[in-house]
Symmetry: C2
Subunit: 169 residues, 2 copies
């Protein structure tokens, strides 16, 4: 029992040290969090399940994919609306480029933005319960861009809890 306790203590110490290193490498919270909302890029999001792909026409000309954390996936699959607190959606976007290997295909080019929606109805009562973050190269874009997020979602998809993306069947 004593050896287990010692091992746990050592693991906790190591974990704290790693967290400190990670924070130093990634910058401060203020640098990484979106204006207005304080949303950050969630750890491990690239491993989350696919909700669906999308394409955005010119001038952006992007291929996109929206991934969701387990709370999001469960809500989509059960058709739960509004999405529960804890839901996180991440939209990855890339330039949409012609495949050099197959004429009819177009594929992801360079990554452009990562966009995040976090549901927390207590923290974000004035934006439908959602916090928004738009990131380029891992850093949030400016406040002016973040001021446009909710207005557009509210105007267009209020009936789907302010979320554009549907489950790709």
């Amino acid at each position: 029992m004593r050896s287990i306790r010692v091992a746990l203590f050592a693991a906790t110490l190591a974990s704290s040290a790693l967290a400190a290193v990670s924070l130093a490498a990634e910058g401060t919270d203020a640098e990484n969090a979106s204006p207005i909302y304080g949303v950050t890029i969630p750890e491990g999001y690239r491993q989350w399940e696919l909700i669906g792909p999308a394409q955005e026409a010119e001038p952006l000309n992007e291929l996109r994919a929206v991934l969701g954390n387990p709370t999001a996936i469960k809500a989509y699959q059960s058709g739960t609306l509004p999405f529960p607190d804890g839901t996180i959606l991440v939209k990855l976007a890339w330039k949409h480029v012609q495949s050099t290997e197959f004429e009819p295909a177009s594929v992801p080019g360079a990554a452009t933005t990562v966009q995040v929606m976090v549901k927390d109805s207590k923290r974000y009562p004035d934006s439908g319960g959602w916090g928004f973050g738009r990131f380029i190269n891992g850093k949030p874009v400016d406040e002016a861009q973040h001021q446009t997020c909710f207005a557009c979602h509210e105007a267009r998809v209020k009936g789907h809890d302010f979320v554009f993306t549907r489950w790709a069947p």
Copy 2:
């Protein structure tokens, strides 16, 4: 100890019964396996990680997303070529339709095909180590369509171990 053994035995029985029910519901292996290759749709693939989205022009006019099992993801992330035996890639495809909610966006419509590549160098020595399966509504398409798979992959992406899809960064 005896109670653990009994519990394990009961769990095994229950698991076998569930497997039998599942097989009956999904049809026989012969009905579900692709011609030539005997590839089936892998269980749980919709939960696999995203490798990347793509778009296919007319006449197919599709949005697509390629997912990979853990062996595939590990190979992509480490740049391992050829892909190791056990790699499975699944391409989901949907009709590419205009969003009714946002003019510049287009989104997945009805599902069209699911296409599977399985790496097994011993089983598929004549097709670069890959078995192919193309499915519509969960059932494999005919032999003639499966005869075209490897020839196209060999002609165009031999240098990437016969795989078109790259990791979306």
